[in-house]
Symmetry: C2
Subunit: 394 residues, 2 copies
């Protein structure tokens, strides 16, 4: 390896970082299992965040923005209720809850984060009751990860230790999300902790850059939620190296983002849509996301049908520059169409069909126009997706 | 009535117009039923058309554009094969087929129109064999309408007679489409005949204007096809009145367009998404189409779930200007949220749920920002949609 640093997976999720605690309890929103959790730190952490582009940002997001929070020692998170479209009262509810929390433990600029149904006021008594149950000294990232789950079928966490000439730092993350996941950031929450001493002015930039290639590159159903948030927090106790940090941050965010796709409501397959040869990277992104979002692609993937015509049609409909004579379409390494030539025979079809039987594969489109490339991640659309979403509130 | 004209439904579809013939045969593409049809006229008709915005326009579209056809006496249409992504050979196939047709009957600038699977060469022998079966003197619009069906579950045709001070004209139309239907025009074919003597320079403009509020206002799954075409043809034998013609053209196109939504693959409900009070009509259109396209809306509609939070979230995510304090959301005439106030009680929910049990209802969003309004038409997403599309080619 000619890299100047080494990235090693470790256990512990967000609690892999020293001085950081997390847990979850049942506050009564879910019949069973965790539904309220916290991440807290011994000393205040610097925090950067990215919020949804939805015009109706939920109350917890507005609260953070209004307070312009830059450091915190406490994140309180609940599932089953998004506290969105709840107006000023939704913000007052947060204030009352955080005031109650302050009676129980020492908090500095606490943050609340919510996910769940839109348009219903928070049940403050349930949350207070949940707060009463907290043991503030647990280091249990898994319980927190489970507390923020809604339609997720598995909890999502990861942690790494990074060692190099600069020394050693750790990074951990948890995320939730399974439906409503779209490239513009959808119902997903992500919390990343580290001890790397990131300069304050680099935190947001780093987060935005890596977000573009991870959470903003995934799609489950093309909708965007009112609550999407990614938080990056650091205790600042360990050395920092820009190159190493950016690389490991991408690993953390890409793993959590593709876990979300893999856990897409009713999804059975994870597909990487690699678009290359576009006029520029923006056009590659448009085409890759169009493929990841297309209902006809998603159902063809569910049906394991190497219907390359749908791939072509979706790219053609995306509005980018392309031509029948320069586009090449592959499923995995099997070429189905190449620059004006239909290569689909029953033998080729069988090969492509075999690739599509896998849990995870790639669809590769080269536009033959330029150097632009982008990878988007999507999943299939199954009967199960319809079932989950038709019955969500019942 | 203070209208200066009267519109009366008549039978006959495209053949309601004198001098126009149509039929369909089985050419062997479908196991049974019609799959090849024609519309023809005694004398040449003036023709205007709108084609898909997909970059990969199918061969039949390219053929018409290259020949710059302005008058015709013959349309040949097939289903089951789109003749798309077939390059120059696809166009040569059309030439060979139309040359064969010319041996059988007198044609002037004949047009071919195709729909079906993308990326497979046409079986010319089957089509020639089908042409051999044509009786060129049938007036059977229904057979033609059935010949262009793919996943459609019913054929779509309509005709009107319009009478006023100016005299009398007729108009008839057929269409096909059930899946891949999107606001940018998707796998849909529409053929409209009339004897109204429309000035040549008005034909395309009229067609474009009415298309915006009909075929471009519907959505089944957000994808756009390589073959979408709307043709307007006139024999010019009857008087013309601009106001009357525009109104009846809208009735014809809106009926055929909503029939397509109603026949959306696996759709069980037709929903009109009325957006009003937008900053301008373009923003209203963006929001209405976003609602009609949203997977979460579609599944909520299938589940008959008055989940107004998804309506708000979808509007908020569409990128238009809106505010929690000015938006009002109704299902039918039941208000669920009004300018910052959540009005959803279990009683209100029950009322809204009742409306959603109907085959057809409206979702009404007023943004309270300005005068812009637009209506988009969509349907629900059912298990059946997934089934049809996962198994399309098998």
């Amino acid at each position: 390896m000619d890299k100047k640093f080494r990235i090693t997976p470790i256990s512990g999720g967000v609690c892999a970082v020293e001085g950081i605690y997390a847990s979850g309890v049942n506050a009564g929103f879910k019949k069973e299992g965790f539904d309220l959790g916290y991440i807290r730190s011994d000393e205040e952490m610097k925090v950067a965040y990215l919020f949804t582009t939805n015009r109706f940002q939920a109350a917890p997001l507005k609260y953070v923005l209004r307070k312009d929070i830059k450091t915190t020692n406490f994140i309180l998170a609940n599932s089953k209720n998004a506290n969105a479209m709840t107006g000023e009262e939704g913000i007052k509810d947060i204030e009352e809850i955080l005031a109650y929390l302050a009676e129980k433990t020492e908090v500095k600029n606490p943050i609340m984060s919510s996910t769940g149904v839109i348009g219903v006021r928070l049940d403050k008594d349930k949350i207070k009751n949940g707060i009463d149950k907290f043991d503030f000294n647990e280091k249990n990232s898994e319980k927190f990860a489970k507390a923020i789950m809604t339609t997720d079928s598995f909890h999502k966490e990861i942690a790494f230790e990074v060692e190099g000439e600069f020394g050693k730092f750790k990074i951990g993350g948890v995320a939730k999300g399974a439906g409503m996941i779209n490239p513009q950031m959808a119902t997903m929450l992500c919390f990343i902790t580290t001890d790397a001493n990131i300069p304050e002015n680099e935190m947001k930039t780093l987060l935005s850059e890596v977000n573009e290639e991870s959470f903003n590159a995934i799609s489950v159903d093309g909708d965007t939620s009112t609550n999407d948030s990614v938080f990056l927090m650091t205790t600042g106790k360990a050395p920092y190296d820009n190159e190493a940090f950016k690389e490991v941050l991408k690993q953390v965010m890409l793993k959590l983002a593709t876990d979300i796709v893999r856990d897409g409501e009713g999804a059975t397959k994870l597909v990487a849509f690699n678009v290359s040869g576009a006029k520029d990277s923006n056009e590659a992104k448009i085409a890759a996301k169009a493929l990841a979002n297309s209902l006809l692609m998603k159902t063809a993937i569910f049906g394991e049908d190497p219907n390359w015509g749908r791939i072509a049609s979706t790219v053609g409909a995306s509005g980018i520059e392309c031509s029948e004579n320069s586009i090449t379409i592959k499923i995995g390494d099997v070429t189905l169409y190449e620059k004006g030539k239909i290569l689909m025979t029953s033998e080729v079809e069988e090969k492509a069909h075999k690739i599509m039987k896998k849990d995870s594969f790639s669809i590769n489109v080269d536009l033959g126009m330029g150097d632009g490339k982008f990878t988007a991640y999507g999943c299939d659309l199954s009967y199960e997706y319809v079932k989950i979403n038709a019955e969500y509130r019942t």
